[in-house]
Symmetry: C2
Subunit: 231 residues, 2 copies
């Protein structure tokens, strides 16, 4: 169904999933890298829309995104889908008790490293740095989840502006903001319809905050007016 891109596997680069200024995860990240590489499985390539982990699966592995974008989502009985988070290269995710409460799917063609949970926890029990790193990573994701929950009770304009702004930063403040995922995915992440998302972007374009270069590429013309829509 989905067409594949070139199938070359990029080198595994472990970007820290926590802010560099975090005190405990700090110091010898090499230790963590070595520990991780001892128990990794993969890298595994997934094509767009492939399911990486299914809601209800036992959570034997954690996932480290190497390239592409992964969405963590849930589909309800009535067919509605919500995307809780997008994970970008360097992000570690899959924290849960026993079973995954959410599905993980490739939002773009992607490469993912699987890390055996039990082995990781076992290493963590011997290596303080690993334990600190894991705690910092979960804390970091907790904070993201809380901020996202906060976002969901705000206006469509604020949600879109915040999302675009965050994504732009996460992608490294490039000249253009290239959206790696579909509008449908973004809408499902923000609890909006694609129509509302599209209209909101149109409004932002009219107000001069951004400009559509193409469908998936935005030019952030005025970061201030983007930020203005936030809060």
């Amino acid at each position: 169904m989905t067409k594949a891109g070139p199938a070359k596997i990029p080198a595994v680069g472990v970007k820290p999933a926590v802010p560099a200024d975090y005190p405990d995860a700090f110091g010898d990240e090499q230790t963590v890298k070595r520990a991780l590489s001892a128990l990794r499985r993969g890298p595994i390539r997934f094509y767009r829309d492939n399911v990486i982990a299914c809601e209800g699966d036992s959570a034997d592995y954690l996932f480290l995104v190497v390239s592409g974008v992964i969405r963590s989502c849930k589909t309800f009985q009535n067919g509605t889908r919500s995307i809780v988070a997008f994970y970008l290269p360097g992000d570690l995710f899959g924290w849960t008790d026993l079973k995954h409460s959410l599905s993980a799917e490739a939002a773009t063609d992607a490469v993912v490293l699987l890390l055996k949970r039990s082995a990781l926890l076992s290493i963590a029990s011997r290596e303080n740095r690993v334990a600190s790193y894991l705690l910092a990573a979960t804390t970091n994701e907790l904070q993201r989840a809380q901020e996202h929950a906060l976002l969901m009770s705000r206006s469509a304009k604020c949600r879109v502006a915040t999302f675009l702004s965050d994504l732009w930063r996460r992608l490294g403040d490039a000249k253009y903001l290239d959206l790696p995922m579909s509008h449908q995915d973004i809408a499902d992440h923000l609890g909006l319809t694609i129509e509302t998302l599209s209209r909101t972007i149109t409004d932002m374009e009219r107000s001069g905050a951004v400009k559509r270069v193409s469908c998936r590429r935005l030019l952030v013309k005025n970061q201030a007016s983007l930020a203005l829509a936030i809060d």
Copy 2:
């Protein structure tokens, strides 16, 4: 301003903040208890609406709720307030990097134990059980936050039904569901107005799912129809 209840301090009971079936936090909880009691400060009594920690404060302490209900919230520039979570007795909260990103306030008169973060992490680095417990606690809270984010993109009816159902369970499935916090707090937690909250409960009463015994006390008449509103 707020009237105080009787000022007796209950005995410190550490109820596990994670499901009992979690494999790693398991085993010797006594170890954790002893470790915690070695670095605790308090218990401290707060009256309703007292601020326990302020957004932006350095996160030197974690908090363990002994009694009462704590709300973790953020107030926006326009005066809107959102409550990310309520913490009940036994809950451990305050996970964040460096600074609190949310305020913690007493939603009712409450007693809280303060645990020095650095000391706790230091103990965790020597005691695997403590480290596992902390990781399990954050993972557990992460899952709650994600579920709450999911909830926020659903209808008012679903949000209220889910909240009442969850709270009922968390409070121990008593005969009556006594709401410990104000409707305003609940509304701010669910991203609704108090009017919509009230109307939604009225609808649920009309459909026979619950009955108002008094303002703050509900009788869950039909758990099935409550659950029906969910999803």
